[in-house]
Amino acid sequence: MALPDELLAELDELILNYPDRRAGLIPALHRCQEELGGWLSPEILEDCAEYFDMEPVEVYGVASFYPMFHLKPVGKHVVGVCRNVSCELRGASDITSRVCRVTGAQAPGRNSTDMRFYVEHLECQGACADAPMIVVDGVYHENLEPDDVDTILGELS
């Protein structure tokens, strides 16, 4: 079992919120991803399967279904660019290009070569009123011009 004891204790607490143990799988995967390096390795998936008494293949099916779970290593900072209607109409493509240029990632879905950044496309994040927007390590940045991207990403360590 590669899951640390503190995380397991947290999961024990978490599953109490659900009528069915396995219903806690998705929040558990989120916590594992947050705590264990930003992505879900095969070992983590297999440990989760064991914890939830499921077949690894089922856990892998769930994890591969949702794009917010990463099944390959990601860079230190995860930069998501929304590409749904409102953002697209207000220049999301330009934002995407700028994010790729600044980070050095070749395209959304790729890491920068120095592994400082992972860039991805996002579906609607519910911030249409202030489109376009990006999400950097879980924090929203809205109503952007391409130049804002330089500032936001420049401030990161």
Partner: protein, 548 residues
Amino acid sequence: MPDVIIDGQEVSVPRGTTVIQAAEQLGIFIPRYCYHPGLSTAGNCRICLVEVEKNPKLQVACNLPVTDGMVVHTRGEAAEDGRRAVLEFLLANHPLDCPVCDQSGECDLQNFYMKFGLYDPRFHEHKVKKKKAVQLGPHVMLDQERCILCSRCVRFTEEITETGELGIFNRGDRAELAIYPGGVLDNPYSTNVVDICPVGALTERESRFKVRVWYLSSAPTVCNGCSRGCNMDMHFVLDRPHLNDGRRVVRVKPRHNPDVNQWWLCDAGRYGLGWIDEGRLGEVRERGATSTWDAALAAIARAMQESDRSRVGVIASAQLTCEELFLIREIFDGARVSAAVPEEPGACDDFLVESDKNPNTQGARLLGMAGPVIGDTTGGLGGSADVPDGQAIAQAARSGELDVLWVFGHDLVELFGAESAHEIAQNVGLLVFSGTNENATVELAQWVVPTAAYLEKDGTFVNCEGRVQRIGRVFAPPAGVREDWSVLLELAERSGRPRDSHEPRTIFAALAAAEAAFAGLTYESIGTLGAPVAGSAARVMSKAEPTP
């Protein structure tokens, strides 16, 4: 018992019955991809849409339990439009590579398109590309583009084998059936996923690209791989030797029998039939030289008449049918006869596979030609401790106590070692071997007579639970090869013990008249699903269907 009306016909079904099952009882077929009676309900393919009165939307028949007074329409504009739309979605990304697809001709996408679709395709976009030839394991190939994600195979590996190799990964039009990363689909029942795949996504490596399905003939039979006797359909080609490398047997499909194997078959049984078309004996031989049936049977009959009965031995086989064992018992009355030989128990599991790799040990027991089961699980069904076993007969032959020894199919070298087998051959006046394939005993026997494989003859086996099952006759034996029963009948004639029977059916009638366990059974009452012998523990969930 809720009453439901489907397409104007009323039926009463137990609570919990789904609409698709109730319709089946009325003979109304509702199309299905994901629904399989042997698996849990998924309800994801949506092709079984029906109209239910007082319901605003179409409902899936596979996942809708009937309620009292429910009125269902499987036909009519609403249901037919719904099904057509579902089919159009399912086919949107389908590669339509039917000309090179092995499923073509038995594909439910083709069948349901012709029956329920017949729309003009409107999809002009590029289809999603996926992997076309993924080897999942030793027997199964996957074409991800053809897959409609019904999840039957996933549920099979989850619920039946509980091995969990297969899953559906990713989402939307990228969703694909795949094996767990690094895994391999090689459980003992893996090929069943090919049988239940309604489309051409999963195909068998062994029969892939060998024969188009419309060239296949099919006949019902029973597996001889172990004492379970799983029911199966043999798919074969006879008149096109350029197909399937000249072999007759192309593939095997499980035949549903709720009391024996349900819908399933193990891979060992499915792929254990190569011997039928390979290394077969094709001619009568005397000391290695080609001879004739006439010469062989005359010589054997003469030797039998000249010998004292106690100096005649028969090592019969639990691979023979009840009819043949019965003939042996009657014709060799007074001789040393056994159908039991020392054999190492084979692999077994708690599902279908039995450790006794003979299909008719139970039949031999009931006929008093094999000893009882050690650690009996059948409730003491037949088998007498006084029966000599094959080893005792071989020992007698070795020490010169026998003038005639007839060995049915067994390889003495394999059973008793080369040294013993050679001594037997030297010390017995006349050693006769009858069987299907070449083996080391063939070299030692004075007379070798080629006999039919079980698929090539009619007869019955009794499975480990005491169920008599008819093996039918899938195709004729090769030229020059005769069924054991016919050889035995002629021998009876020539040795002055003629029988009234002339074919397996009448031999079985004589057997049923002579043996209490078989009393009252006929080929008609055995039917295609078999029937339990008297006093057996065999389950009787279904009523046997009469043969046509």
